[in-house]
């Protein structure tokens, strides 16, 4: 019971920080958004060139360093890897495409609902549908296989990468992009964002905060632990928005959102489906990578690659809606994730080790 109280309090703290970050300059309903912030970092590094979505988000840096330090302190840090790493990269790639079609990760989805954005409720239904699809494969025995312990230092590479990001953010070299307009230009002061990220990282590491995991566990085990965090997050953010006057109920004219219901549903369904197979949403992957899991680290790179492709190929949604390219990408994403799910499920017979032209090995 104590744990349930702790995660509920954590959800409330995250809600308050999210509201504060918006007040301090973050885009509306985007106090935290793991998918959007990774996309902004992707842009900041010049891996996509949409000049309104480029910023090295300190929240992500803080989150990684907070979770890493906490895992060292609690001795939960373990360098692990080798559980179908490349397959995870591909899954993450399409998870990001789905989330860019909706315009947010599960965390921002909840914050959007709390801001009165009804499109996010459509996405929530999609997310649950996607999680159900993933759970069906888990029940049949889907597994990406075992990770094995790695030399301890390999897990340090991921947090070090984000120390490097912090240096780039502070030094602002000419080759790093900082948006001067649009959502990328809207941000809280670096120190506030960094501290909020650190606190978030500590809380997320201690509670294993994950909305996808919450829906999954409630279906699989009747276990609601992870959902308590999101429940208080939603309630506190909702009350906060009402008090601050930033609650705007409806489908149209929502900030950094579109109201194409079909693609809000399908985008988040794709994100939920892939996330279940990966063992958690983008937030959980970041925390897990910070705790030394190198498969999760590669998953985060898959998310970044997905964000780069989403914007370089015009797949991501805009406030006007979802372009045909994005719709096709979501359908391809479903096909590929379904294929990966089938081929890695024990209960479904698949011929193993088929050799091309009778040759063994290479």
């Amino acid at each position: 019971m104590k744990k349930n109280v702790f995660i509920a309090v954590a959800g409330a703290v995250i809600a308050v920080m999210a509201l504060a970050l918006v007040k301090l300059g973050n885009p509306p309903n985007m106090g935290f958004c793991i998918a959007c912030f990774l996309r902004d970092i992707t842009g900041g590094l010049g891996l996509h060139r949409v000049n309104t979505l480029q910023y090295i988000r300190p929240e992500i840096i803080g989150l990684v360093l907070g979770a890493f330090a906490t895992s060292l302190f609690t001795r939960e840090y373990r360098s692990l890897g080798g559980s179908n790493s490349f397959t995870r990269f591909i899954l993450a790639f399409f998870v990001m495409i789905g989330m860019m079609v909706f315009l947010g990760c599960p965390l921002r989805m909840v914050l959007r609902i709390a801001g009165g954005d009804l499109n996010a409720i459509v996405a929530l239904v999609g997310l649950v549908a996607g999680v159900l699809l993933g759970v069906a494969f888990l029940r049949k025995g889907f597994s990406l296989g075992r990770a094995i312990p790695q030399n301890r230092t390999n897990g340090y590479i991921f947090p070090l990468l984000f120390v490097a990001m912090l240096v780039l953010l502070l030094a602002r070299p000419a080759y790093i992009f900082f948006s001067e307009q649009g959502p990328g230009s809207m941000h809280a002061p670096i120190i506030a964002a960094l501290v909020a990220g650190l606190i978030m990282g500590i809380l997320a590491q201690r509670t294993r905060f994950c909305f996808v995991g919450g829906i999954r566990d409630s279906i699989l085990f009747g276990e609601f632990y992870l959902l308590y965090g999101f429940l208080t997050l939603l309630v506190v953010a909702l009350i906060g928005n009402l008090v601050l006057g930033s609650f705007n109920l409806g489908f149209v004219n929502q900030p950094i959102a579109h109201n194409d219901g079909v693609w809000n549903f399908l985008g988040m369904a794709l994100g939920g489906f892939g996330s279940v197979l990966l063992g958690g949403c983008p937030l959980r992957q970041l925390v897990s990578a910070s705790e030394g899991n190198t498969d999760s680290a590669l998953t985060v790179l898959g998310l970044i690659a997905g964000a780069a492709f989403a914007h370089n190929f015009g797949l991501a949604a805009s406030t006007k809606g979802v372009a045909v390219n994005g719709q096709i990408a979501v359908i391809i994403g479903f096909a590929i994730i379904l294929l990966i799910a089938f081929l890695n499920t024990k209960g479904i017979p698949v011929r193993q080790g088929v050799s091309a032209g009778g040759s063994k090995g290479c």
């Binding site: 939960e76 692990l80 888990l138 990770a147 094995i148 312990p149 995991g213 085990f221 276990e223």
Partner: protein
Amino acid sequence: MEVRDARGLLCPEPVLIAKREIEQLGRGAFQVIVDTVAARDNITRLAKSKKWEITVEPSGDEFLLTLKKA
């Protein structure tokens, strides 16, 4: 006593392994080896909700969980 190895598996797989064992056995005893605190905590919670006794023995970076129901 049956020992199930759930090392290196990401959540929820260790919990699913324990859950399948609990459902197949109905009563009796089995052990699960896990290597993450998350898996240890989640299986502990599962055992309690299914009214199975659970003991946790840490060894190095791993945990040996023993589940029993009379």
